[in-house]
């Protein structure tokens, strides 16, 4: 058994003139919890469809669960597509059973497992209802169940949280983490960075079809540590001169009603924080941790001359789905 659940080597996919995925290399170890992040249209869904062998790459090699293609391992994969639906006229339990049977699950086993799972997501009473009678939130839960009910080794979730209310989002997040604890390898894509931050232990950032970052969440934070401390004095009129005089402090700048204290390279921030508190009475002192969003914006904009407007638009995209025209949801022939 290979240690990698998924390996992509130099995978490229174009639709006409548009390069959706560009020379992508990726290795997801078994048991990993990977987040694919990037704005709409970055190539996440196409990458996932390539992994699933729903689309085929123009170039490059893909291996899934040790097989040359997902087609040979379909029964061991659970896939929640971004564009997902149900058979409207089918009854909920029948639908789940049908999907799981197609994935090779045992019928007798399913008779027990289907009610159990429905119970678990609080939908035990809808087993006999037609899928079209369910609310949108309920349908999303059923769709998720159809992905995990055959207990796959590999879970691929494309934007699993989109359109969910906070309560259901938390429920789904717990279910995903349960699957991770069970030992399943999980990849999920999202354009909402904060979700990735909360769940993943490893993040792959994709932009314009190319991988721009591939690291653990802690690794990314360490690497993109801005080495600043956020400080808010208890007395807004306090004299901050002593702070600038502290050893290893580079400068102090006002920022959004507080102050950003930049440190010299290699400084232990906790030692400086103690000194700051001792020097000026504080209402708030905290390490300025970069968000994935900040890092993404930093990477994407880089040294290029990008206007503030473009940055604001990019951030908006990353927070709430952003531009409606950004998606490569359709395969363009």
């Amino acid at each position: 058994m290979t240690t990698e659940a998924i390996v992509l080597e130099g995978v490229t996919k174009t639709f006409g003139p548009k390069v959706a995925v560009d020379e992508l290399d990726l290795a997801v170890p078994r048991g990993g919890l990977y987040g694919f992040i990037g704005p709409n249209g970055a190539g996440k869904t196409t990458t996932i469809r390539l992994i699933m062998s729903i689309l085929f790459p123009d170039r490059g090699r893909i291996s899934v669960l040790g097989q040359r293609s997902a087609l040979e391992a379909k029964d061991r994969i659970g896939y929640l597509p971004e564009e997902r639906g149900l058979y409207k006229k089918m009854k909920v339990a029948a639908f789940l059973t049908y999907v799981a049977r197609l994935k090779g699950a045992d019928r007798a086993d399913l008779r027990r497992r289907v009610p159990e799972w429905l119970e678990r997501v609080g939908l035990a009473e809808v087993a006999g209802k037609r899928c079209e009678e369910l609310s949108k939130g309920m349908q999303q839960k059923i769709q998720f169940l159809s992905t995990v009910i055959h207990e796959p080794e590999l879970l691929i979730l494309d934007e699993p949280f989109s359109g969910l209310d906070p309560v259901n989002m938390r429920l789904l997040r717990d279910l995903v983490l349960d699957q991770h604890r069970r030992g399943a390898t999980i990849i999920f894509s999202t354009h909402v960075m904060i979700q990735a931050e909360q769940i993943c232990d490893h993040v792959v950032m994709i932009h314009h079809g190319a991988k721009v970052l591939d690291d653990t969440v802690t690794g990314i934070r360490a690497k993109y540590d801005p080495r600043t401390i956020l400080f808010e004095p208890r007395d807004p009129g306090a004299d901050l001169a002593p702070l600038g005089a502290l050893a290893r402090v580079r400068d102090v700048r006002a920022a959004n009603g507080a102050f950003e204290i930049s440190l010299e390279e290699g400084t232990d921030p906790s030692a400086v924080m103690a000194q700051i508190v001792a020097a000026v009475p504080a209402a708030r002192v905290e390490l300025n941790r970069p968000t994935l969003e900040d890092i993404f914006v930093h990477i994407v904009t880089g040294d290029a001359d990008v206007g503030a407007e473009d940055v604001a638009k990019l951030r908006a995209d990353l927070r709430n789905g952003g531009s409606p025209d950004g998606g490569t949801k359709e395969v363009e022939a």
Binding site: G78, P81, E83, R84, K88, V99, L102, Q143, S146
Partner: protein, 462 residues
């Protein structure tokens, strides 16, 4: 294979276990029944029950009596009964058997009584030949045809029964009727006038009408078909209808299967369940399962309607009319026609986003399917013509045309049947290949619905 079977079973159950399917299954027999019963009522040739007066100005003084007799209710009822008997003579053997039972006799007697109650009550009166014609027409100008009163005025020409001096031909009569007089009443009057005038002319010529009639009548002859198995009466109606019945059966079952495949594919696409399916099965497996499931749906139609037709033929002891091997070929040609048509319709389903968009792509398919209907008459009349032979090898209509030829009066040689089957199988293979390509690309394609050119580009791409 197991997955294909599961998809097929779901597809079949999801289609068959709906009210719409059951309604669809019974609607065609019901419509046919209504059509048969309704046609008879619609094309009722007998005059309605109307009361009124038929006046005649008869300068010859000889024609009136004949018309008077002819339009008596009893005489009319008797003619209708004769007509019915003649109709029954035309019925096929099996039906005659049914008609000859005591029960049928009783029913006929009762029917006659009913008939008597339904014939028009016409008062036939003679007007003074010297009277004013315009005044005689006056009652026609008033009132309408349903309220009684004068319905018609017949004016017999002077030379209607005796040739005028120096002329070879006889005169005739004028018929004046009120507005909106039922044409069947008018027909009765015309019939009575012809009958009466001929009667007088024959008598005046010193001849006997019955003799003339028996001299000029030759009974209608029905041909006897002579075969190796024996001789039987030729049944022209059935000979004509049998090919039609076969293409109706084939058409209905192929179309219901194909239509089901198209709608269920569109539904899967529009409800976005299709990508979920594609994570479990390949597009080819999905398509194969769906085609197989809908093939069974079409087969249900074929079985039910075919079974009903056979039961009907058996009950009239007419099963001998149908060559049993034809049923075998019907099934074979069903498979071929289904795979070709359903593959194309399934491709349409996979290519579009909603049923409305399918119309444009469906039009050429439906038009192709209409061709056998246009060809039914010429081909069943002349099943060995060059045209018939060529079209029976031409996919996708070859199953239809070949069945018309096989059930016609002059079946084609067996080698032609099998060549047509071979061509059909090749066409079915090609259509499935085409559909497979379109499925692979089309299922995940949303947005602008494609045209046929785009479909062909997809096929090249996939």
């Amino acid at each position: 294979m197991n997955k294909i079977l599961q998809i097929a079973i779901r597809e079949f159950v999801a289609t068959v276990a709906t009210k719409a399917f059951l309604i669809g299954l019974v609607i065609i027999p019901v419509v046919l029944l209504i059509a048969i019963v309704g046609m008879r009522t619609l094309f009722d040739e007998t005059a309605p029950r109307i009361e009124g007066e038929v006046a005649m100005i008869d300068p010859t003084g000889e024609v009136f009596a004949g018309l008077y007799e002819y339009l008596q209710p009893e005489a009319m009822a008797e003619r209708r009964d004769d007509f019915k008997e003649k109709m029954e003579e035309q019925l096929p053997e099996g039906l005659e058997l049914v008609a000859g039972t005591p029960m049928a006799e009783e029913a006929r007697r009762q029917a006659l009584e009913v008939l008597l109650g339904e014939v028009p009550r016409l008062d036939v009166v003679e007007l003074d030949p010297g009277g004013d014609l315009e005044r005689a027409k006056d009652p026609l100008r008033r009132g309408n045809a349903t309220q009684g009163g004068r319905l018609a005025l017949v004016v017999v020409h002077d030379d209607a029964v005796v040739q005028a001096e120096g002329r070879e031909t006889y005169g005739k009569y004028d018929l004046f009727v009120r507005s909106k007089l039922d044409d069947r009443i008018e027909r009765e009057i015309r019939g009575g006038m012809v009958d009466s005038i001929v009667d007088v002319r024959v008598r005046r010529a010193g001849l006997d009408r019955e003799t003339i009639e028996s001299l000029t009548r030759v009974g209608r002859v029905r041909s006897t078909t002579v075969t190796e198995e024996g001789e039987k009466q030729t049944n022209e109606v059935l000979n004509m209808l049998l090919p039609l019945a076969f293409i109706v059966l084939l058409f209905v079952s192929v179309l219901s299967g194909g239509q089901g495949l198209m709608t269920s594919t569109i539904e899967e696409k529009s409800s976005r369940v299709v990508e979920l399916m594609l994570s479990a099965v390949s597009p080819m497996q999905l398509m194969a399962g769906k085609i197989l499931g809908q093939m069974c749906v079409g087969f249900v139609f074929l079985g039910v309607y075919g079974g009903m037709s056979i039961a009907a033929l058996m009950s009239f002891a007419l099963l001998g009319m149908v060559d049993v091997s034809l049923l075998f070929y019907l099934v074979i040609f069903y498979f071929i026609a289904y795979f070709v048509i359903a593959s194309l319709m399934g491709s349409v389903g996979a290519a579009v986003n909603e049923p409305r968009e399918a119309q444009g792509l469906m039009a050429p398919i439906m038009m192709t399917l209409m061709i056998p209907w246009l060809l039914w008459m010429p081909i069943s009349r002349d099943p060995d013509s060059m045209f018939a032979v060529v079209t029976s090898f031409l996919p996708p209509i070859n199953p239809f045309v070949m069945l018309i030829r096989m059930s016609s009066t002059s079946p084609p040689p067996l080698w032609q049947v099998w060549v047509s089957i071979a061509i059909g199988v090749a066409a079915a293979y090609g259509a499935l290949w085409f559909a497979g390509k379109v499925f692979r690309i089309g299922l995940l394609m949303y947005g602008k619905p494609p045209n046929f050119r785009t479909l062909i580009r997809w096929v090249r791409m996939a």
